[in-house]
Amino acid sequence: MGATWVYAQVTPDGVHPSALELLTKARALGGDVAAVALGPGATTAVNELGAHGAAIVYAGDDQAFADHPGRTAAHTLHVLIGQHAPSLILFPATYEGRDVAGCLQALTGSTLMANATDVDGPARARTEIFGGTKIVEVDLAGPEPRLVLVRPKSFPAEPSGGTAEVIAVDVVTPPGPTASVVERHAEAASGPKLEEANVVVAGGRGLGGPEPFAMLDDLAAAIGGAAVGASRAAVDAGWVPYAYQVGQTGKTVKPEVYIAAGISGALQHVVGMKGAKRIVAINKDADAPILKIADLGVVGDLFEIVPALTEEVRRRATS
């Protein structure tokens, strides 16, 4: 059996965790293990990749890998495969991993298996179907290297304490037109992630518009470590982005405290927050269903109650 390679996704900020998971698995398969890291940050990632089991790291820091994603890496990998003939290449099932693996398969004509959850070697991998209730074993056939896209977090990452030899890789410019990255935009996220916050302050239709959400931001900031969420009604009305949505078709949250302001508590919302330890509901309608599941229900005008609450939280924090 030839070597097992891991496509290690890197940025100047570090190594994507999937690379370390895949290296841990590759080690367990036996045989030689190498990592391929393409893009700015590749060389600085060598130590970490080596410490997780890569004996060799093929590293290329060229900016072109970041500027022209997908095909540039695929063509470079294709040349490396021609030189070193690995048996199996593991890719993370990330946007980048899928892009590169797909392009590479078009060049090699070898087998590509997507969405794998486990790998036994170049000849066999596994995937789950029907929401994980059935496991399918897949025999991989055809010319090597076999390409397998593995779902992130399928394996734990465990260091081996090794070191890697670095082989510098020259970028291969793909023929024909190539997509270029025009702009990078990171959605500004203030505070902790909705799903991870200890306290969630959520607003609904009762807020009446986008501006009152600033009131919830203030309350969240006063509490500290709190995130702001919203009901579907507020998202549908265009007051806040979909990323705020808590509920059946949005995020499921399980904070210590969930503060629902102006949310009636339709089932589709409740499904996303019923796991909260404590639920505080502020609503002007005493018949609102949310009050039935709330540990503390406040019937009144949220435009008075929320600022007063923010004020009180601040006062206690400083006293």
């Binding site: 929401g131 239709r205 059946q248 078709t249 589709q268 499904v271 269903p289």
Partner: protein, 633 residues
């Protein structure tokens, strides 16, 4: 033909009588074409003309071989000559109407259709009847026709021609031109959308019998050999014979597109474009099997197109040639979900909920299924209890959603007031599997259907009443495929029956105006239009209809598991429908399905409207004349 032979068979031969009757109505009678008046007249003129003029093609061919020969029996019969003359003229009128529609009216439904191809076909047909009339005119001019009065149009045209040699030459020119254009047309046909003149009739014959809401089961047996395991449709090769015939029957008339809720709210799905795009992919099938086919999604149609569909069936109901768009979309979903695990992520919560220990889309504790009961006297069937006459299938929405619970409570009180022998399954009830099935998760649906069917058998249930239009459709039309053949009624049907039997008495003192929204799976898919209207009629409320009502109702946006997906695009379907309801000026919007209830009530709140949204049963309960509706009389 090679494509069709190779395709997966479709079991569409049972009940030939019903198929023949549909053939008569939809093809000979042009019934679905007449759903639009002017285009219907246009098409009927051309189609009936095509039938009547068929023998004249043979006439003309005979005349080329042997001038003066004509068909026996009819060739010289005045009645036949009259029919030919009349219908050739009507075809020409039909073509004129067609050009008027296409060039002057220019309806939006043609967006994306091949307009130039249609022009060519129409001009060719015009040339065929024109040369026929002119040929007949020259024959009259030459004195070859015994009864020129039988052909008024050709007779009038004959005044253009003399009796001499030039007319004899023209007579030959017209008959040759007629035959050559017909032959050219026949050669062009197979490559064009006009192929429908051959494919439409069999497509109508092999259409689905019975309610359009029933999906054909795709049995998933995980123990079966790999070759036999099929997960919906991945490439064009997986299409059934009927699905292929659908593709080559489409004339791109766009009636489906015009009524599609997705298209009408600015989404990329158009049933017409879907069929055209899949047709182009199917045309690439290589019968030798050497060329590897691309998956239909996302190569022929995008993922979004597949998920935009609300399965409301408006497209199928409008389609003059009985194309089954929804069934093909469902097969595409089956493949995406079961083979690729690819679907809008937000719907995952629903699938996990249906599959999970509580077996409902919201993942609510199964133990709270009876929380709606409160102080209403309700018999909850324990294992071994005697079977009631009617099992009230509460449904997950009816048990867990606060708005739908009101409907459940109203129905329970009304059944008690009417003295019906009824009971509920309580915690033994689980999701019918409908939302999973409409998502394409046939396997999950199959498991639930088999389990529920076993529960029905165990409890000795024979009659079921359901408040959810989706449960109703699934239990009535789809459960027989899984071993549960029940008499299933919708609550509005049972209530209207109880009113007619005078087991429920109303005091029609209610005032106000109500408009009723037809649920797709109750109305269009299952033909229940009148029971909810009858019930409303007994309440004393003044009823008014929306423009799109009954068969042509516009979906609330929740069907096809869209209830569990996020919607984007220019407009929301529920907002669009609610605006139409509010436009009637009624102060109450009556619904008969919990999905419609949630969607339209949300839309009412979003619009800040005062209009009340309520189930038909709740409106009835408010006007039923019993002292205490919770007690049996």
């Amino acid at each position: 033909m090679a494509l069709l032979r190779a395709a997966r068979p479709a079991a569409r031969t049972a009940e030939p009588g019903a198929r023949a009757r549909r053939e008569l109505a939809h093809v000979l009678g042009q019934r679905k074409l007449f759903q639009k008046a002017l285009p219907g007249v246009m098409h009927a003129f051309i189609f009936w003309g095509f039938l009547v003029l068929f023998p004249t093609i043979i006439e003309a061919m005979l005349a080329i071989v042997d001038d003066g020969r004509s068909l026996p029996l009819i060739g010289q019969a005045p009645w036949f000559l009259f029919l030919v003359d009349a219908f050739a003229t009507l075809v020409a009128v039909g073509i004129a109407i067609a050009f008027y529609i296409r060039k002057v009216q220019r309806p939006d439904r043609f967006r994306g259709s091949h307009m130039e191809e249609a022009d060519k076909i129409l001009l060719a047909i015009l040339a065929i009847v024109t040369t026929l009339l002119l040929w007949n005119a020259t024959k009259i001019a030459l004195g070859q026709v015994a009864h020129p009065g039988a052909e008024p149009v050709a007779n009038a045209l004959s005044a253009l021609f003399g009796t001499g040699q030039p007319t004899e030459t023209l007579e030959r020119v017209f008959v040759w031109a007629h035959v050559l254009i017909v032959l050219g047309f026949l050669a062009y046909l197979p490559k064009s959308k006009h192929l429908h003149i051959i494919t439409a009739a069999p497509n109508v014959y092999f259409a689905k019998n019975g309610p359009s809401g029933r999906l054909e089961p795709e049995r998933i047996d995980l123990e079966a050999a790999d070759e036999d395991l099929r997960f919906g449709v991945a490439t064009a090769k997986d299409l059934s014979k009927k699905q292929l015939l659908d593709l080559f029957s489409c004339t791109e008339c766009g009636r489906c597109q015009e009524v599609c809720p997705a298209w009408n709210t600015g989404k990329p799905l158009s049933p017409k474009l879907l069929i055209m795009d899949i047709r182009d992919a199917a045309a690439a099938i290589d019968p030798t099997g050497e060329v590897e086919l691309q998956p239909l999604v996302p190569n022929a149609v995008t993922d979004q197109v597949v998920w935009d569909c609300v399965t409301c069936g408006a497209c199928m109901r409008e389609c003059p040639v009985d194309i089954e768009h929804v069934d093909t979309i469902m097969d595409l979903r089956r493949n995406l979900v079961m083979a690729e695990s690819r679907f809008p992520t937000e719907a995952g919560t629903m699938l996990r909920g249906v599959e999970g220990p509580n077996e409902n889309p919201w993942g609510q504790p199964a133990s709270t299924r009876t929380d709606w009961i409160g102080d209403i006297p309700v018999r909850v069937l324990a294992p071994g209890d005697p079977a009631p006459e009617y099992l009230f299938w509460v449904g997950c929405a009816g048990a867990f959603d606060d708005r739908a619970k009101k409907t459940t409570q109203s129905v329970a009180r009304l059944l008690n007031a009417a003295g019906v022998d009824w009971a509920v399954l309580g915690g033994r009830e689980r999701c019918t599997g409908d939302p999973a099935r409409r998502m394409g998760h046939e396997y999950l649906f199959q498991m639930l259907a088999e389990q529920n069917a076993a529960t029905f058998a165990d409890a000795g249930i024979t009659k079921v009443v359901a408040t959810c239009a989706h449960c109703f459709n699934t239990l009535a039309n789809e459960y027989p495929d899984y071993g549960a053949t029940l008499e299933v009624v919708h609550h509005t049907e049972l209530l209207s029956h109880l009113l007619a039997e005078r087991k429920l008495l109303t005091t029609p003192g209610a005032s106000g105006t109500v408009t009723y929204h037809d649920a797709c799976y109750l109305g269009r898919h299952n033909g229940r239009f009148d029971p909810p209207r009858d019930v409303l009629g007994s309440t004393g409320l003044t009823t008014t209809e929306m423009e799109r009502a009954r068969e042509r109702s516009f979906c609330c946006g929740a069907g096809g598991a869209r209830m569990w997906m996020e919607e984007d695009g220019e407009a929301r379907i529920n907002d669009t429908r609610f605006a139409e309801a509010a436009g009637t000026g009624a102060d109450t919007l009556a619904v008969a399905c919990p999905y419609c209830f949630v969607m339209l009530d949300d839309a009412a709140k979003a619009a800040g409207s005062e209009m009340r949204v309520a189930d038909v049963a709740t409106l009835l309960a408010e006007s039923v004349a019993t002292g205490n509706p919770t007690e049996r009389p």
